[in-house]
């Protein structure tokens, strides 16, 4: 077990290095000249300005040279400067991370709870109408593009029914709560401002639901399958024959064993969260890292694109590792087998 963890941990820096290398060469093989995102059309015609800009951004050096400088800077925690915002990429990302984290955490909680609930419901009422309904609801969520479901829900609830606010994190006239964590719900609570807290929550309902809905399909499917598996086990029969109440049988005896596969799948849904962050934030004008990635991509701002990709990949690798390890710990068959 320990050897497995160490081996996996050692692999991460190597994989990140591979990621960085791929990103760098992708960014430097672009068809669109990076200069075109830095200079206006008229400036591009002036050789002096072009040469000066190239020197300023280090674009005049040879590719291997640029690569080594980039790696050296990365090791010092410098992801370069964004062409678009003219600020260090790392600062840009750090500014936007709380917004993304806040939305992602809420979505993950809603998505997992609803997914587990739907999966258990489906398994318990197997092959009945409730089963089909729960499965179809979850499947529709993962079959829709999130940017479209977000658009439609926004239109229904914000424009037509006017019971939920439009895009953004707060009402435009409200000023943001004093910075502590950068997550508006927590910050407004810390400042004792209940109205602002409720406003932040109301703004989060639609984007969080859209992201959660896209995850429910895979979570509920796994929960249903393992629940069916568990419900056929003899110890469930034993519990029932002892006269335990049905709810107790489900919650105490079955759910625990269902949690192991569920844990892994929730780890896997990290990929859904990143996809969700990119697309949902764009449609809801949510000023997070995903929105930043899309705006940078549209502007061909390669330092920013690479920065987001490297950080996203690192987070992805770490989550996968944590998932695998917790899976191994939660499952005695694996823990004791090795």
């Amino acid at each position: 077990m320990l050897r497995y963890i160490i081996r996996r941990l050692l692999a991460i820096p190597l994989l990140v290095f591979g990621v960085v290398t791929i990103c760098f060469f992708l960014a430097h093989n672009i068809k669109g000249d990076p200069l075109s995102s830095l200079l206006s059309f008229r400036q591009l015609g002036n050789p002096e300005i072009v040469a000066a800009t190239k020197a300023r951004w280090g674009l005049d050096k040879s590719l291997p040279e640029q690569y080594f400088i980039y790696i050296k800077n990365l090791l010092a925690g410098d992801f370069g400067t964004s062409f678009r915002t003219r600020r260090p990429v790392l600062e840009d990302i750090a500014d936007r991370l709380p917004a993304t984290l806040e939305l992602a955490i809420v979505s993950l909680v809603i998505g997992s709870l609803a997914g587990i609930f739907l999966g258990m419901l489906a398994a318990y009422y197997r092959n009945q109408l409730i089963d089909d309904g729960a499965r179809l609801f979850a499947l529709i969520g993962s079959s829709m593009p999130v940017f479209w479901s977000g658009l439609i829900l926004l239109f229904i609830f914000s424009v037509k029914l006017q019971i939920l606010p439009g895009p953004g994190r707060l009402d435009p006239v409200t000023d943001i709560p004093p910075y502590v964590t950068g997550m508006f719900t927590i910050d407004s609570l810390l400042a004792g401002d209940i109205d602002k807290f409720l406003d932040a929550v109301r703004h989060m309902i639609l984007p969080a639901f859209v992201m959660a809905w896209s995850m429910m399909g895979i979570i509920s499917r796994i929960v249903r399958a393992s629940m069916l598996d568990v419900l056929n086990q003899e110890y469930i029969l034993t519990a029932r024959s002892k006269g335990a109440r049905e709810l107790r049988v489900i919650m105490n005896h079955a759910l625990r064993n269902v949690m192991i596969p569920t844990l892994t799948i929730i780890g896997f849904s990290f990929a859904y969260l990143i996809t969700g962050a990119v697309l949902v934030e764009t449609i809801f004008s949510w000023p997070g890292v995903g929105y930043y990635a899309v705006s940078s991509t549209r502007a061909l701002d390669f330092p920013a694109i690479i920065g987001v990709t490297i950080i996203g990949a690192t987070a992805f690798l770490v989550t996968n590792l944590v998932t695998d390890i917790s899976y191994a710990f939660a499952n005695p068959k694996i823990r004791l087998g090795r």
């Binding site: 692999a11 994989l15 990140v16 591979g18 990621v19 791929i22 990103c23 992708l26 960014a27 093989n29 672009i30 068809k31 669109g32 197997r126 092959n127 499947l139 529709i140 993962s142 079959s143 829709m144 593009p145 940017f147 479209w148 479901s149 658009l151 439609i152 926004l154 239109f155 424009v159 399958a225 069916l228 990290f270 990929a271 990143i274 996809t275 990119v278 697309l279 764009t282 449609i283 990635a293 899309v294 991509t297 549209r298 061909l300 390669f302 694109i305 690479i306 987001v308 990709t309 996203g312 990949a313 992805f316 690798l317």
Partner: protein, 281 residues
């Protein structure tokens, strides 16, 4: 005679042809036929301004008109021409490249295995959407480049799947028998190993057609896939988002994506339950 044969065939696949699978197949069939024949029965030219702009749905324009006065219904139907063939091409390319590399890796072992699998590891280290965005951005917008980006993202899944299958099949008796009878390595791989490994790849691929439709739409939505005026579903939703209060612009393409993905998921689910009864009831 012939009728009897069809009946026994139907009986054999009785468990496969569940209601969702039939519905899924009908949906996909509808879109495939539409993609092939739309030129013959399109209500309007998808690229031409045919009416006043931003008209709500009416009997004349079933899904209204967009910001340039083009018929949204015709554009939606034309969208099938892009999404479905590209999704199929991407998945088929990813399956071919991935499973060939995976099979060769699993079969030959040694440094080839090491090299291919490290490449797989690094590619899978990227969150799929970010890698697709980076590759598509580096290649420049356009459907062709978006497809290349999608293949780059997808092949490792199949390489890993196929390698695991190959490692397992390699140990089976019929392979040993083939080795003992002295067949060539290429023949061994293509005739005795690959055909046995197809089931999980097939199931996965069916599910992935839907995912490919989604990813293509996402890339176009971001602005990396189809460029205007191409009637691609993701790009159309992106236009719809710009004219937010005119909800009908994004309705058709969104429902189309939902139907196609749902259809492929129904079929994929059915195939999985059929081939692997453990996961069904």
């Amino acid at each position: 005679m012939r009728f009897l044969r069809i009946r026994s065939l139907l009986k054999k696949y009785d468990h496969l042809l569940t209601i969702p699978v039939i519905i899924g197949a009908l949906i996909i069939l509808f879109w495939v036929i539409t993609a092939l024949s739309i030129d013959l029965w399109q209500p309007y030219d998808p690229l031409e301004m045919v009416s006043r702009r931003l008209q709500p749905p009416s009997t004349k324009h079933l899904l209204g008109t967009d910001a340039l006065g083009r018929d949204v219904f015709s554009r939606t139907l034309h969208g099938a021409r892009h999404s479905i063939p590209i999704a199929m091409m991407v998945v088929i390319s990813a399956v071919t490249i991935g499973s060939l590399l995976g099979a060769v890796a699993g079969y030959s072992g040694k440094w080839i295995d090491g090299f291919v699998m490290r490449l797989v590891d690094v590619t899978l280290a990227f969150p799929p959407i970010l890698l697709a965005m980076a590759v598509a951005a580096a290649l420049g917008p356009g459907l062709r480049n978006a497809s290349i980006a999608m293949v780059v993202v997808w092949w490792p899944v199949y390489a890993r799947l196929m390698r695991a299958q190959t490692l397992e099949v390699r140990e089976r008796d019929h392979v040993e028998a083939a080795i003992a009878s002295g067949v060539s390595r290429t023949r061994l791989l293509f005739v005795h190993i690959l055909p046995v490994c197809w089931t999980p790849v097939l199931i996965n691929a069916t599910m992935d057609f839907g995912q490919a439709v989604l990813l293509l739409a996402s890339l176009s939505f971001i602005g990396l896939g189809a460029t205007p005026p191409t009637p691609e579903w993701g790009a159309m939703i992106s236009e719809g988002a710009k004219f937010f209060y005119y909800w009908w612009i994004a309705l058709g393409p969104g429902v189309s994506i939902l139907l196609v993905v749902l259809g492929f998921n129904f079929i994929g689910d059915g195939l999985r339950d059929y081939f692997d009864p453990r996961t069904s009831d």
